[in-house]
């Protein structure tokens, strides 16, 4: 329980800092709405073709907006010296990882709450369904976890803002493919049991990434 309280304290710290500045969520929100509109103009789709494209557009927007937030997540700590404080605190390194990852997950969740209805309207697809929401959660958990781990690496490199997407996107491919395929299937009328292999793949991805991150995060932050 003490471990959970420590993780929670880090989440609360991140959310409180974000509530005061709103720099991360506002940038992510404005960017993702813009991206969605630009996709809508650029593809200019109607009817059945729009249904096919919508899940891909939705996930690509989430992925790109996510890299914006993930980058800020550690650069802000570095600029303010907050990360040194976290490292000095008597908590396990993996607790820091979980705290940061849950915070990032929350910010991405906020973006998705706005994106889902917007995408449904622009592309005329029924995205607000329990099955799609489950896929969103499963896909975002894995993406936020691997993104947090790699953001901790990217922040220590030269040209860190550019480095994160280069490192993150190829490793996010399995989650992205499974999530897009599952979302497409559900939108086209498949049931949850039809897409079960994809859901299972997403769960395995989430568990593997969380396990590897727990084991390796400590090596990334030691000085």
């Amino acid at each position: 329980m003490a471990y959970v309280r420590k993780v929670w304290a880090i989440v609360v710290k991140d959310v409180a800092a974000e509530l005061r500045t709103r720099e991360m969520t506002s940038a992510m929100l404005v960017f993702s709405v813009l991206a969605m509109l630009i996709f809508s103009f650029a593809l200019n789709l109607r009817g059945a073709v729009a249904q096919v494209a919508a899940p891909g557009v939705l996930w690509v927007t989430v992925v790109f907006a996510g890299t914006l937030g993930l980058n800020r997540s550690f650069t802000r700590e570095q600029v303010t010296g907050g990360f040194d404080g976290l490292l000095l605190a008597p908590v396990d390194r993996s607790a820091i990882f979980f705290g940061k990852a849950l915070g990032n997950l929350a910010f991405m969740g906020i973006v998705e709450i706005v994106l889902l209805p917007l995408c449904s309207v622009l592309f005329d697809v029924p995205l607000l369904r329990p099955g799609v929401l489950l896929v969103m959660v499963l896909g975002t958990v894995g993406y936020a976890a691997v993104g947090t781990l790699l953001a901790a690496i990217a922040v220590n490199t030269r040209a860190r803002e550019v480095m994160l997407p280069v490192l993150l996107l190829p490793l996010a491919v399995p989650a992205l493919i499974a999530a897009v395929q599952a979302t497409s299937g559900l939108v086209a009328g498949a049931t949850l049991s039809d897409v079960r292999p994809l859901l299972r793949l997403l769960i395995v991805y989430d568990l593997l990434i969380v396990a590897v991150s727990m084991l390796t995060f400590g090596y990334l932050v030691e000085e």
Partner: protein, 230 residues
């Protein structure tokens, strides 16, 4: 500093040279002409062998990363980065030979088929690995970061495989099913010879690459000593 003779390295060069020549001879002279695909099928032996070396090299990168994080010894990091560079070369070769084969047989150079896609993703992943190493100055940090990246990469790549399998597969599954092409015994021998030759070539290049890294370290150390004594 005395440069010690690398007898084993020299022996490896000779052995892998002979093995490569033998594999080449087997591919062109010993292996029979495939019935439906014709001579273009002969690229298959080197294609499969380079793909095998590529995947094996990335597995070595993963092992090197784990060993480095556990022990903190620099030689494991040298092993990991050396193996990555060789793996990238061989995966690129596998992708190019595969495209050359696919054009006459499938009628297209490229299709989003699981094995092609996973090779392309691996290329991107390990190019990113190289970029990461280039973007960190401190050698100790560089080693730690790239070890972690090599481990996460190795864990996610098999998942890409399962994700893409949901798409239609056109790749001949010769080794397990025996379907897709008439697979004669002589072809099996030739494939085995190519696999052995390519694996030996991998070990030979790996040894030379590690020696190069050690020499670079020595030069850096000597240069630092020289700067201090001035």
């Amino acid at each position: 500093m005395r440069e010690d003779r690398d007898t084993l390295g020299l022996a490896l060069i000779v052995v892998s040279g002979v093995a490569m020549a033998a594999a080449l001879a087997a591919v062109f002279l010993y292996a029979p002409r495939e019935m439906t695909m014709g001579d273009v099928q002969r690229i298959f032996y080197f294609h499969v062998s380079s793909a095998w070396v590529g995947f094996f090299a990335f597995f070595v990168t993963f092992l090197g990363g784990v060993a480095y994080l556990v022990s903190g010894k620099r030689r494991w990091d040298v092993l990991a980065v050396s193996s990555t560079q060789i793996g990238l070369t061989f995966i690129t070769m596998a992708v190019i030979t595969g495209s050359l084969w696919a054009r006459p047989v499938w009628g297209t150079y490229w299709t989003w088929e699981p094995r092609l896609t996973i090779s392309a993703i691996q290329l991107l992943v390990y190019v990113a690995y190289g970029m990461l190493r280039g973007a960190v100055d401190d050698p100790e940090k560089k080693a730690r970061f790239s070890s972690v990246y090599g481990i996460v990469a190795f864990v996610t790549v098999p998942l890409s495989w399962f994700a893409i399998r949901w798409w239609r597969t056109a790749h001949p599954d010769v080794l397990t099913s025996g379907e897709g092409m008439a697979f004669a015994a002589r072809m099996g021998h030739t494939l085995l010879a190519s696999l052995v030759a390519f694996t030996l070539l991998y070990i030979t290049i790996l040894r030379q690459r590690i020696r190069l890294a050690r020499t670079t370290d020595t030069v850096m150390r000597l240069r630092a000593q020289l700067d201090r004594s001035r």
